[in-house]
C-alpha cells in the first residue's frame, strides 16, 4: 500500500504541482501585499502583475513566500519583526532563492556561473527573471539570453546535448503513465525514471560542456534500460492482441459451424 502510494505520488507529482495548486491559489483570499501594491504605479506595482503570470502564482506561492512579512496584517505587513526581508542585494539573490531550491542552489554555486557571483557573473534572475518566473525549461538557454555575457556557442552545445534527453524523459514518462492507467505494475520503472530525472536536473545549472556531455550519455544509458523494459511490455501486449484476434476468429468460426449444422436439420 505504502509503496503504491509512493509510486502514485511519483507519477502524479507533476500534475499535483500544476492543477490542484492552481485551484488553491485562486481560492486564497488576496493578501494585503497585493491589495496595496496592486494599485501602485511603476516599480512598486509592476511586480504584482508579473507575479500573476508566474509558476509561483500558479503554485500558490505568494509575495510573503519569498519576501517574508505578514500578508494578513496591513499595518505590520512590512515589519522586520514579522520576518519582512524586502528585496535582496544582487549578490544575495542566489541564497534568497536557494531557501526553497537548495539543490539547484548547490549546483549553481559549483558552476562557473556561481563561481563568478559578485564578479559580474549571472544570478538566478538573470536567466529566470525575477517576478515572472516561469516553469524552467531548456528554452531558457537561448542565444538572446546567453549572448548578453558571452558567445552562444558553448551554451548551444550544452542545450543540444540535453534537449534529446529531455524529450526522451518526457516520452518515457508518458508511456509509463499510460501503462499505469491500464493496470500494469509500473512501480519499479516509475522509481527508476524518478531518479534518472533527478540526476538529469542537477545538470541544468552545470555549464561544463564535457561534464554535461558525459552525464547525458550515462543518463541515456539508463533511459535505454527503461526503454527496453517498456518494449517488453509493449511486445507482450502486441502478442496478446494477436492471440486475441485468433481467439475471436475462432469463436466466429464455431458460430458459423454451429449455424450450418443447425441448417442441416431444418
Amino acid at each position: 500500500m505504502i509503496r503504491k502510494n509512493i509510486l502514485a505520488i511519483l507519477l502524479l507529482a507533476p500534475l499535483l504541482f500544476l492543477k490542484p495548486a492552481a485551484a488553491t491559489a485562486l481560492e486564497q483570499p488576496e493578501t494585503v501585499c497585493i491589495q496595496c501594491h496592486g494599485s501602485m504605479p511603476d516599480r512598486l506595482g509592476a511586480p504584482v502583475n508579473l507575479w500573476r503570470g508566474s509558476i509561483h502564482a500558479e503554485n500558490g506561492i505568494s509575495c510573503n513566500g519569498c519576501h517574508g512579512g505578514d500578508p494578513k496584517d496591513a499595518a505590520n505587513a512590512m515589519s522586520p519583526q514579522r520576518g519582512f526581508l524586502g528585496a535582496p542585494k544582487e549578490k544575495d539573490i542566489p541564497a534568497f532563492c536557494g531557501r526553497c531550491h537548495p539543490g539547484v542552489y548547490k549546483d549553481y554555486l559549483a558552476s562557473a556561473h556561481g563561481r563568478a557571483l559578485g564578479a559580474g557573473g549571472p544570478t538566478c534572475v538573470t536567466c529566470h527573471s525575477n517576478h515572472q518566473v516561469v516553469k524552467a525549461s531548456l528554452a531558457l538557454i537561448n542565444e538572446k539570453s546567453c549572448t548578453r555575457c558571452h558567445s552562444f556557442e558553448r551554451a548551444k552545445t550544452i542545450r543540444d546535448a540535453m534537449s534529446g534527453t529531455e524529450a526522451r524523459i518526457v516520452g518515457i514518462s508518458g508511456r509509463i503513465a499510460q501503462f499505469q492507467v491500464s493496470g500494469v505494475d509500473t512501480e519499479k520503472m516509475g522509481k527508476a525514471l524518478f531518479s534518472v530525472r533527478n540526476r538529469f536536473h542537477t545538470l541544468f545549472h552545470d555549464v561544463d560542456v564535457n561534464r554535461v556531455k558525459n552525464e547525458s550519455a550515462a543518463i541515456n544509458k539508463e533511459l535505454d534500460k527503461l526503454d527496453a523494459a517498456l518494449k517488453v511490455i509493449d511486445d507482450e501486449h502486441a502478442r496478446r492482441r494477436v492471440v486475441g484476434g485468433i481467439a475471436v476468429a475462432f469463436a466466429v468460426l464455431l458460430a458459423i459451424l454451429f449455424h450450418l449444422m443447425k441448417k442441416t436439420y431444418d
Binding site: L257, L260, T264
Partner: protein, 139 residues
C-alpha cells in the same frame, strides 16, 4: 442424403474445434494454477557458525522444504532434512537425548539421520554444507 454427408463433415469440424477450444481455455487455467517457481527458501543459505551452541539445533527453510542444522555435544556439525521419512511431519530435536523425535508416530532418528526406532522407512536425507571463516554455507 447430401444433408447426412454435410452433417457428418460439420460434426467432425465442430468436434475438432471444440477440442481445440477446450485446450485453448485449459492452458491459461493450468498456467495460472501452476506453482510459481523460485518460491520458498533459497537454494543456498549462509548461517553464522556462532549462532549455534553445542547440543543445539536450528531449523530453517531450505530449497522449499524444512531442514535442520545441529551441533552435537562433541561439536560436530550435521545438516539434515527435517521432513520425517514416514509421513512427512517435521521432526523435533530432543536436546536431552541428542536425537530427533517425530511427534506424529514416534519415529526416532540419531544425529546423523539414521532410524533409531518407530515406523520411518529411511534415514533423514543429509544436506551438503561447507564451513568457511565462521560461516556455514548450506547447499
Amino acid at each position: 442424403m447430401e444433408n447426412e454427408g454435410r452433417r457428418k463433415f460439420l460434426g467432425v469440424c465442430v468436434a475438432g474445434c471444440t477440442v481445440a477450444a477446450a485446450a485453448a481455455a485449459g492452458y491459461p487455467v493450468l498456467r495460472y494454477l501452476a506453482p510459481r517457481s523460485g518460491q520458498g527458501g533459497a537454494a543456498k543459505l549462509v548461517i553464522p557458525a556462532g549462532e549455534l551452541k553445542e547440543g543445539d539445533a536450528k531449523f530453517f527453510e531450505f530449497a522449499g522444504s524444512s531442514a535442520v542444522l545441529i551441533k552435537t555435544n562433541s561439536g560436530q556439525l550435521v545438516a539434515l532434512s527435517a521432513v520425517c521419512t514416514h509421513l512427512g511431519c517435521i521432526v523435533q530435536w530432543v536436546k536431552e537425548k541428542q536425537q530427533f523425535l517425530c511427534p506424529c508416530h514416534g519415529g526416532q532418528f540419531s544425529t546423523d539421520g539414521t532410524v533409531l526406532g518407530g515406523p520411518p522407512p529411511r534415514p533423514l536425507a543429509k544436506i551438503p554444507f561447507t564451513v568457511t571463516e565462521g560461516n556455514i554455507t548450506i547447499g
